[in-house]
Structures are given as structure tokens and as C-alpha cells.
Amino acid sequence: MIKLVNVTKTYKDTVVALEDVSIDVGKGEFVFIVGPSGSGKSTLIRLLLKEEEPTKGEIYVAGKHIGRLTPWKIPYLRRNLGTVFQDFKLLPDKTVFDNVAFALDVIGKPRHVIEQRVPEILSLVGLGDKLNNYPDELSGGEQQRVSIARSFINRPLILLADEPTGNLDPATSVDIMKLLDRINRTGTTVIMATHDNAIVDAMRRRVIELDGGRVVRDQARGVYGYGA
């Protein structure tokens, strides 16, 4: 589903963000990317979204060599990739419903599809009664659930989550992880960059550890292990 072959990313020729990284993630896998700040986790996510180009190496997403993608095809790549971020990226002047509908709106889905699918997915993430609330009326955990609903509404093949629990307390984080786990069980590949050792240790999924831009560990059913 995702394959990196000897990927290196340097900024301004001197700052090395990723160095000779090779990763192979199969369909339906749940993978944690762990490592200290500046180890290259976020760079990896940006490369998968083709927000940036690797300096060297090849990246395949859903079977496509994304380095060869023409610019006008990039949006169609991103429709296969759901994304969740630490800061939720919700629009404050839109309701919960409109925030989720936005993802369908901007790819040109007809209104009746939106009217049907948005309430469906929002009740799936447990927000069926908050359709008309605004983001600032919700707790952090609820906001992140809206964001997950938006990322999943197009049934992407892959979900990329960059520190999705970074702003949440441990109890709320567990709820979010349960949600991501459920999404994973539908067959969606989940890649999650995180600092949260408690979560990684509890989930017991594949762990890829980055340090200074290199893969220092790739372990099935691993633990966080960093600093331990």
C-alpha cells in the first residue's frame, strides 16, 4: 500500500530530514512512526501527501510511483489519503456538519450525497447530536473526532495521522485511538506519527522508529521503547 525505497530528504543541501529510508507497509496495516522531535516523522507524512518531493529515492502510494505524478493528478492521490493532525484543522466559522461536508463539497459531490453521508459518519464517531455546533463549542476530543470524520468520509485507502493525540489528555486519547482502530478494522491502512508512548505500548502494533532521519527500528507488535 505504501512503499519507500531509499528515500532521502534534505533541506537546503545541509539539513538532513530523512536519510536512506526504506519502508514497506501492506494493506490494512496499522503502523506507528515514533521518534523524538526533529527525527523526520512529519517530513515522512508530507512526502506521502506529495506536499514535498524527496531529494532521492522513490515513493509508492496505493501502487503509484508518486514522483511521476503530474501536478494535476495530485488531488486525486490525496482523495485516497485521509489526514488527521494535532491541531484538528477545522474551520471555526463552519458548523460540525459543514466542516465534514466541506470535504465532499470541494471534490464536487452532489448535495444529496452530502446530506446522507455526513450525519451517518458523524453518528459513527459519536457526534450525531452535535451537527449544528461550532468547533469552539466542542471539547478537544470531540473536535478531533470531527476531523477524523472528515478524513474518513471519502473512504480513503490510507489514513495518515500526525500526532492526533498531541493536544489531548490520556483518557480522551484512548477514545481517539479506539476510533482509529475501528477505522483500521474496515481495511484502511493507518500510519500514525506519535510521541505518546502509553498509546503505542497499549496498542501493540508495528512500530517504526526514526532517529536523525534514519530508521533505527522496525518491529511488528512493538512498544514505544524510546528512552527505555
Binding site: 488531488p75 486525486y76 490525496r78 484543522k89 470541494v106
Partner: protein, 292 residues
């Protein structure tokens, strides 16, 4: 992909509302620019009408010396009448010239009182079949006695047209400067709109909106500003016509005047120019901001 007209319409309307004042500046500059372009077009039409009217009536004047003898005068008349290029010849005596002078300057009594019929020259008024053939006629007449001066009225018109040309070029130059400023202002409103919505745009990109889907509302916003400017300019031209040109009609008999069809003629030009300038400005403004 289904074209969601309501989506684009809503986004555009919101954008215009959000930068009301800047949009107003952009629209009013576009209005002034296009109004001037329209004015220049109308001046051009007016000159065209003048040329058409006067070319038909243009004469060659052969002024006679005061000491011309009746036989010389008769001889000249015959020579002119026999030329193949000449359509008609009319002899204007000193008295006739004086009457015409009195008629033309009837409002300036002092001028009329100080000029006697004797001080005006007699002349042959010659109409040519082809006004371009002046040189041929003038060449044949040189050497004939009794002639004081041969004047081609087209030369006077040429000077008039030179003046109107300067005027037209001047108006067009100002119009171009204004068009560039309006393009800059429209580009600026678009840039501002993009900047105001950079967060939305970021999310749109993440969920896989195509570039055109992201750009179209901004492009439409720019084009609407251009169209509003063009519409105001067209309205302005019609008001100018009704207020200033129509009252002149019939009062200045010899002057043909531009009318409603001429103003209508400018409409597609102004609308087209407004759309093209606005679209180019908008796309240019977005290029800097909206990369994949």
C-alpha cells in the same frame, strides 16, 4: 465531476462581501478605465462620421487675383470644366463671398463691419469626382494667369483630424494606465481573498480538491468585479450621450453626431475587455499563492 453552480456562486458572493471596500476600489477603477476606453471608441466613431460627411462635400478653392480680367476668369472656368477629374465648378463672386462671410459670422458684428465685400477674393469652388486627385488638378492649373492661390480643403480637415487623433491617443493612454491600475487592484482583492481563506485552501488541498476547483471562486470574483466596472462604464456612456450629445443634435447642423447604435457598438468591447483584464489579473495574482 458534477458542476456545482450553487457552490461557486455562494463562495464568490461571500468573497465579495468580505472585501467590500477593496472590491469597490477595484470596481471603480475598472469603471473609470473602461469609461475612458468607451469614450475613445466614441471619439473614433465621431471622427469616422466627420470624415464620411466631409469627404463627400470637400471642395478645392481656386482663389482669383483682384486684378483678374473677365476673359481670364472665363478661360479658367472653361479649363476647369473640361478637366475629367472635375465633377462641378461654381463661381463665387466677391459679393457672394461677402454674403457667405456675413452669414458665417453673423454673431460677430465687429468683424462683419470691418470687412467690405471688396476685401474678399472671388473664387472657383471646384468639386472633384475623387478628392484624392487634388494634385493633378493643381498641377494643370499652375501657369494659368489670374490665380492667386489654390486651396485643398482636405488639408484643413487633415489638421482637424490630427488634433482629434492626439486627443484620442491621449484618452487611450490614460485609459491604458487606468486599466493597468484596475488590473492591479482586482489582482489585489483576489490576493486578499486568497489570503483570508488560506486555512480553507489548505484543507481543500488536503482533501483533494483540484486546483481549478480551488481557483474558480476567486477567478469568478475577479471577473465579476471587471464586469461590474464594464457595466458601470456602459451606463456612464449612455448617460453622457443623453446628457451632452443628444441636446446638441439638430442645433449644430453641419456636425454629424454619434448616436445610440454607436454606444451599443462599444458594449461588447467594454464587456470583453473587462472580463479579459480581470481574468488575467486574477490568474496572475493566484499563481503566486496557489501552488499544489
Amino acid at each position: 465531476m458534477a458542476l456545482r453552480v450553487d457552490y461557486y456562486f455562494k463562495e464568490t458572493l461571500q468573497g465579495l462581501k468580505r472585501n467590500g471596500l477593496v472590491a469597490f476600489a477595484a470596481v471603480s477603477t475598472a469603471f473609470i478605465a473602461l469609461f475612458l476606453v468607451g469614450g475613445a471608441l466614441l471619439v473614433q466613431r465621431e471622427v469616422g462620421l466627420l470624415i464620411a460627411r466631409t469627404e463627400a462635400n470637400v471642395e478645392v478653392s481656386v482663389f482669383l487675383r483682384d486684378d483678374v480680367s473677365p476673359s481670364q476668369q472665363e478661360n479658367l472656368g472653361n479649363v476647369l470644366n473640361q478637366m475629367p477629374e472635375v465633377a462641378s465648378v461654381h463661381y463665387e463672386s466677391k459679393d457672394e463671398a461677402y454674403r457667405r462671410f456675413q452669414e458665417i459670422f453673423k454673431n460677430q458684428k465687429a468683424l462683419v463691419e470691418n470687412v467690405s465685400s471688396d476685401s474678399l477674393p472671388a473664387s472657383f469652388r471646384v468639386k472633384l469626382k475623387d478628392p484624392q486627385k487634388f494634385d493633378v488638378v493643381a498641377a494643370r492649373l499652375t501657369g494659368q494667369s489670374g490665380i492667386d492661390k489654390i486651396v485643398d480643403q482636405r488639408n484643413i480637415l487633415k489638421r482637424l483630424f490630427a488634433v482629434t487623433r492626439v486627443f484620442r491617443v491621449g484618452v487611450l493612454a490614460v485609459a491604458i494606465v487606468m486599466l493597468i491600475s484596475s488590473a492591479a487592484l482586482i489582482g489585489n482583492t483576489v490576493r486578499l481573498a486568497v489570503f483570508n481563506r488560506r486555512k480553507e485552501i489548505g484543507i481543500m488541498r488536503l482533501v483533494g480538491a483540484t486546483n481549478w476547483h480551488i481557483r474558480l471562486p476567486f477567478l469568478i470574483e475577479g471577473i465579476i468585479e471587471g464586469l461590474l466596472g464594464a457595466g458601470a462604464a456602459i451606463l456612464g456612456l449612455f448617460i453622457m450621450k443623453v446628457a451632452f450629445i443628444d441636446p446638441l443634435r439638430g442645433k449644430v447642423g453641419f456636425l454629424p453626431l454619434v448616436g445610440t447604435p454607436d454606444v451599443i457598438f462599444t458594449v461588447p468591447w467594454l464587456l470583453g475587455l473587462g472580463v479579459v483584464v480581470a481574468a488575467i489579473a486574477s490568474l496572475f495574482a493566484m499563481r503566486q499563492f496557489l501552488e499544489v
